[in-house]
Amino acid sequence: MGNKGNTMAQASNRPLSPHLQIWRWGPAMLVSILHRATGDGLAVAGLGLLLWWLGALASGPEAYATFTHWVWAADPGNALQVAANVLGKIVLIGLSWAFFQHLASGLRHFVLDIGAGYELNANARWSIMTIVASALATIAFWAFVLLR
């Protein structure tokens, strides 16, 4: 650092590629960003919650009760858990939407990988379809869980 001749100094003088604020928003851009955001959210929060669930199951009935009390159904009278349940439900519904969105845009990526779907109208249409599909799948999933 500080040495003008080294590669670090040269790298920092290179022009930066334009980022989000430069481009006009469009469906493909939105879906690309959502694909990354949902993927990283699932990787951190989704897999973290999966491990907590599996670890609690493996640790016995009390540990599993602790898990469900904090995430979904609070021990009545435990105000902190009642508050945590609101967060838990938002996270679970958010994770299910993130999975369906990542799944839909992931399938779109498979289509793009074979070289199809790059025409402007088709590309925009299928980008929007991933958002519609993930919203519908999320609603259908929770309707099935909560209404049956």
């Binding site: 790298a11 990283d40 491990l51 199951l57 599993y64 299910s96």
Partner: protein
């Protein structure tokens, strides 16, 4: 490298010769995730209730336990590859880059092993 010529500065800094492998494995694990997470969600939808005995009894059976271990391998591998791409895009400083690489080569592995050990304990009748 390093006599100051343009070619000398970039020699050895080019392709890592494993980009195609990363790209392909991301897609193979994506197919695994597609099948296995849909299996998990469908199984949860068909569960009569979400109490300990029901869920534990279900996961202790051979096929669900096998599928769950495969799900852990596929999702953690896919997540590790995806987070690597995120880091490659936004982490540029050499020290941070090394730290992120070290974390990505340990935390996902540790998480996956914990998940697999939990399923094995459930399936083989501990707790």
């Amino acid at each position: 490298m390093g006599n100051g010529t343009s070619i000398g500065r970039v020699r050895g800094l080019g392709s890592s010769h494993e980009g195609a492998h990363h790209w392909l494995v991301q897609r193979f694990t994506a197919i695994g995730n597609l099948v296995l997470v849909v299996w998990l969600l469908a199984s949860l939808l068909m569960m009569p209730d979400y109490g300990y005995a029901t869920i534990h009894g279900w996961l202790a059976r051979p096929v669900p336990a096998t599928a769950m271990i495969l799900l852990i391998v596929s999702t953690f591998w896919h997540a590790r590859l995806g987070l690597q791409v995120l880091a490659e895009d936004y982490v540029h400083e050499n020290g941070s880059k090394f730290a992120v690489r070290a974390l990505l080569n340990s935390i996902p592995l540790a998480g996956a092993v914990f998940g697999i050990v939990s399923v094995i304990r459930i399936a083989l009748g501990g707790a």
